[in-house]
């Protein structure tokens, strides 16, 4: 081989080697680039995922805020409702108390109405006394009591009714001095607080109420003992005593007048019949 051909061949071989080397380099570069592209793709995908996660968490925060606001509003509403419920409950209790008061008042008025009705339902003297006795016995609950009139002529008491005690114990009692005397003089009723332990003293009953026509005391109702189940006086009892003080006195007085006038009329009629015959 010609030395110049050998050089040329060597040169060609060298170029071929360079060419191979370059091809290898380009190949490695291409592979490197491909890897980079793959990594880039992966990173882009992960970036997109991350962005998506961040985006959704930012949306939940808004929802939470909204829900917290709703909870706050509902809590305010609940407290308002609880307050209004307490007001209605208090009002309801007030109504119940007032209903009980009205019911009691109604029952008291019934007693007073019946007592008043009966007192003025008859002009018979004995019937009037019987009605007063029943009122004191069955409405007030007294066991031992007396009804007496003031005898202006003798200035002593004249018993009309003596329930559970001898009428002699009241007869001839003076109208001055003692509880009965004070009640007749003043026209004011006498009450004691403790009605369970009353002692029997004819001139000093535990309860004594005057029988009055206008300002004039014509007699008294004296109570010495109550039924064992009667522990204390109620408001209705005081109302009944007030009623008896006025209405019983008028009923007694009117029926006495009527009875006396009927008797006188019968006497006169009898006399006329005698004269005529």
């Amino acid at each position: 081989m010609d030395p110049s051909d050998k050089v040329k061949q060597d040169r060609l071989d060298e170029l071929g080697a360079h060419r191979q080397e370059l091809l290898q380099m380009f190949k490695r570069g291409a592979e490197f680039t491909e890897d980079l592209l793959k990594d880039n793709e992966k990173l882009r995908f992960r970036l997109a995922e991350a962005e998506a996660r961040v985006g959704s968490s930012m949306g939940d925060a808004g929802l939470v805020q909204e829900l917290m606001e709703k909870i706050r509003r509902l809590e305010e509403e609940r407290q308002d409702l609880a307050r209004r419920f307490a007001e209605v409950e208090a009002e309801n209790k007030d109504f119940v108390n007032r209903y009980v008061e009205v019911e009691n008042e109604n029952n008291n008025l019934l007693n007073i109405y019946v007592a008043s009705y009966q007192l003025h339902s008859t002009l018979d003297f004995q019937e009037v006394l019987q009605i007063i006795t029943e009122i004191i016995l069955n409405f007030v609950g007294a066991e031992v009591f007396a009804i007496a009139l003031v005898d202006e002529r003798t200035q002593k008491l004249r018993p009309l009714v003596a329930e559970g005690l001898p009428s002699e114990s009241l007869a001839q009692l003076p109208i001055e001095g003692g509880v009965i005397g004070d009640v007749i003089t003043s026209g004011e009723a006498h009450f004691v607080d403790d009605i369970e332990n009353l002692k029997f003293e004819p001139e000093s009953p535990g309860i004594c109420t005057p029988l009055k026509i206008k300002d004039r005391t014509i007699g008294v109702i004296a109570i010495y003992k109550f039924l064992q189940q009667k522990k204390k006086l109620a408001n209705v009892d005081h109302e009944l005593f007030t009623l008896l003080a006025g209405h019983a006195a008028t009923a007694i007085f009117a029926s006495k007048l009527y009875t006396d006038s009927r008797r006188k009329l019968n006497t006169i009629q009898g006399f006329i019949d005698l004269v005529v015959s």
Partner: protein
């Protein structure tokens, strides 16, 4: 229209009026009055009653006798009977309950006591 009829037997007009007025608050109850046991028996023969309220101490025929006769009457043998008594009359009360009375009211009588006793017995 009243669903039930009550017979109130009491010789005292005052007490009878109180009991009748109290019971008239019950809308479903019609109230008939009798002034003693004999009058009550006459009324029981002509009319059916759902409840009987009677005093014990009455003239002509007392409440114990009345209770005893009512319990022998076919029409009224099962009606509720309420007796009116005083706290101290325990013996009368026991006898009345033994004869068939269902409940008792003690004097002094209060309207709520009457109403509640009748409501309980008639299940109003």
């Amino acid at each position: 229209m009243a669903e039930y009829t009550a017979l109130v037997v009491e010789d005292s007009p005052t007490m009878r009026q109180l009991i009748v007025f109290a019971l008239r608050r019950l809308q479903s109850l019609k109230v008939i009055e009798a002034d003693d046991g004999v009058d009550a028996l006459k009324k029981l023969q002509v009319q059916k009653f759902n409840i009987l309220i009677t005093d014990i101490n009455m003239p002509i025929m007392d409440g114990l006798k009345l209770v005893s006769l009512v319990r022998k009457d076919e029409t009224h043998k099962d009606i509720p009977i309420v007796i009116i008594t005083t706290e101290g009359a325990a013996e009368d009360r026991q006898r009345a309950l033994a004869l068939g009375a269902n409940a008792y009211i003690t004097k002094p009588i209060q309207a709520p006591q009457v109403i509640n006793t009748v409501k309980e017995l008639l299940k109003l």
